[in-house]
């Protein structure tokens, strides 16, 4: 019940944000430029597809009192469990169905008999959850600290810089692994760990941009009018930061998804029962050594991961080019 509510709230918030963005000339212009390129449209379609899958997997309800809750995705795609491996397009061993496509495991089954296609789709929500929750928590913190450091300068700036230099000096992977070992596996823990290691980059960016904007004439004008710092920051500087922040968040999202895969592979990511592509790859690793080779598990998970990351990268780059072609930086 709560899950459904949260999902709805998030969707509504996203809808509002996008609608407001399209009203501003900067974003409208950017989208216009992006619409022209077929590659970007393709990437956008893929993203929309993934988002739909994630949404379908977020709404769940139970059929009866003691029944397990099933999501929309479950109801459409869940296949009965087999006993062990079966190759792609293998027939269900349980009751046959009149519709041919529904009667097969499209991508085969894994070691314990789970339908691979179904498990891959379940991984979408996990990826979005990790990327989305982490970004949502990192964004306000990085924005706040970055703006404060850039605008107020001196003592505040020194303190914030000290904090993130200390944090930044610890190599990311090491810190992630250490945190996950201490906090334990789980989605919230992973989000916290990823958040702690990724806010510094965005904060630096925000601080740099705020420094640049602070000396611009419109800020001087606002100060001459007697506006206080909070108002200047929120109403004037923040909107000018948003393009860079959005682009950074989009590209960061893909990095987060990739990080989850690696951490889950190492065993310090998402727990086994929560479907994730990292877990699938970890399980699939040993399968390649079998005779005959079992490849569909690995290929399915890596392809899904690849498509999501690729689409995010393409859209992120296109946003950057759309906002300002001169902003190109790796």
């Amino acid at each position: 019940m709560i899950g459904n509510l949260v999902a709805t709230l998030l969707l509504v918030a996203l809808g509002f944000a996008v609608r407001n963005a399209l009203r501003t000339p900067l974003w409208a212009e950017a989208f216009r430029r992006m619409r022209r390129r077929p590659l970007v449209i393709g990437a956008g379609v893929i993203l929309a597809l993934f988002t739909t899958i994630a949404i379908a997997d977020s709404y769940s309800w139970a059929d009866g009192k003691n029944q397990p809750t099933k999501t929309v995705l479950d109801r459409v795609f869940e296949r009965p469990q087999e006993r062990t491996y079966s190759p792609p397009m293998a027939k269900l061993t349980t009751e046959a169905s009149p519709k041919p496509l529904l009667a097969t495991h499209i991508l085969g089954t894994d070691g314990v008999g789970n339908d691979v296609f179904y498990r891959t789709l379940k991984g979408v929500r996990t990826a979005f959850l990790i990327g989305g929750l982490t970004t949502l928590t990192v964004l306000p913190i990085a924005l706040l600290l970055g703006m404060l450091a850039g605008y107020l300068g001196r003592g505040v700036d020194d303190l914030i810089q000290y904090v993130y230099t200390v944090l930044d000096s610890i190599p990311g992977i090491l810190l992630l692994i250490a945190m996950m070992m201490i906090l334990g596996q789980g989605v919230p823990q992973l989000c916290i760990a990823l958040g702690v290691t990724s806010w510094v980059g965005l904060c630096r960016l925000v601080r740099g941009e705020t420094l640049k904007q602070r000396d611009r004439e419109y800020v001087l004008a606002a100060r001459a009018l007697g506006l206080g710092a909070p108002r200047i920051l929120m109403r004037h500087i923040l909107p000018n930061l948003m393009p860079i922040v959005i682009i950074s968040a989009t590209l960061g999202f893909s990095r987060l998804v990739l990080a989850e895969a690696i951490l889950s592979y190492l065993g310090v990511g998402v727990p086994e029962d929560v479907g994730s592509w990292g877990n699938m790859i970890e399980a699939a690793r040993l399968e390649l050594a079998r005779e005959p080779v079992i490849w569909w598990n690995l290929v399915s998970a890596s392809t899904a991961l690849f498509l999501l990351v690729l689409a995010l990268n393409i859209v992120g780059d296109a946003l950057r080019d759309g906002i300002d072609p001169r902003l190109r930086s790796a």
């Binding site: 190599p171 070992m181 893909s254 990739l258 699939a284 690849f306 190109r328 930086s329």
Partner: protein, 313 residues
């Protein structure tokens, strides 16, 4: 230069202090030791005795100030102590692991920089053409594939299927070359996408600058402009990113080493994860931090050496 170096080293001390305190907070304060024990003991419902044993073995039962002083002493004296799982001194394993890690790591770093610079130069020389667009797109594709797939796929294809390289293993000396070639090639291939894109951007930025126009107006050939003028300026950010990556050559790649059985520091890390070996993790975190700070100082120094505009204050 020496004064700058000394000053940077002095500035590093509060950072190291901060890192030590942060790691102490992380390892000893964030989660109650009992909970950590419960998580990491393999049994389903550990008995109080099992929990106690786990805590004592790792020193979590001592009073907090004693833990703190032991932690700080260990950090600053490089006394990493013993491994939780194997009880061997950590430094021994570190010493033996540095060699293999550096062999593979340096091959990957040098190889990938060399290949990426060449590709980026070619692409920059042909900017705007179909070659440029396709290579750039290819880079985005390559960047979107997770490192895991490069390793698993590469190992499967070249070692298992084609049998061009051994599957895993390591050997000292020149005869061991065949063991490190495949991991090195895979490491280079995986970083190619991001590097070429970065270097290309740097070079294109330089090619758009005014001094290029002046050089052309003098009558300098466009190839000389690219290979002498642009390259010299582009080398600055390229070199600094190279120097910044040096410390990580020592720590080694966790994934490469564990997949290919290279007995380096990366494998040590993976073993520590599997063995719930917190003291090793602590030691490696500290080691990694020191190396990173060294890398940052080296980067600033190299900047000053290559860019005549930079004067070390």
């Amino acid at each position: 230069m020496l004064r700058y170096l000394v000053r940077r080293l002095i500035y590093a001390i509060p950072i190291l202090l901060g890192v030590s305190i942060a790691t102490f907070a992380l390892f000893y304060l964030t989660v109650p030791p009992e909970q950590m024990a419960r998580q990491n003991i393999s049994a389903k419902n550990p008995t109080p005795q099992q929990i106690q044993d786990w805590l004592v073995a790792r020193g979590y039962d001592k009073p907090m100030p004693e833990q703190f002083s032991k932690h700080m002493r260990g950090m600053f004296l490089f006394d990493f102590g013993k491994s939780d799982s194997t009880s061997e001194p950590i430094v021994d394993r570190l010493r033996s692991g540095v060699g293999p890690s550096m062999v593979v790591g340096s091959m990957v770093l040098l190889g990938s920089v060399a290949v990426s610079v060449v590709v980026a130069l070619v692409v920059a020389a042909f900017r705007g053409t179909y070659l440029d667009h396709w290579v750039t797109f290819l880079c985005v594709l390559l960047m979107s594939v997770t490192f895991l797939v490069y390793i698993i796929g590469g190992q499967f294809l070249f070692a298992k299927l084609l049998r061009w390289f051994p599957l895993a293993g390591y050997q000292e000396g020149a005869s061991g070359l065949r063991f490190v070639l495949l991991p090195a090639i895979i490491g280079i291939a995986a970083s190619l996408g991001a590097n070429v894109r970065f270097y290309r951007t740097v070079m294109l930025d330089e090619m758009n600058r005014d001094y290029v126009r002046t050089a052309l107006a003098k009558g300098v050939s466009s190839s000389r402009v690219l290979f002498v003028h642009v390259l010299k300026n582009a080398a600055i950010p390229i070199l600094t990113s190279f120097v910044l990556s040096l410390p990580f050559v020592v720590t080694g790649s966790l994934l490469l080493e564990s997949f290919f059985g290279i007995p380096g520091i990366g494998t040590y890390m993976v073993d520590a994860i599997n063995g719930q070996d917190f003291s090793v993790i602590r030691a490696l975190v500290f080691l990694g931090t020191i190396l990173y700070i060294v890398g940052a100082i080296l980067t600033d120094l190299s900047y000053a050496l290559v860019d005549p505009r930079v004067r070390l204050e």
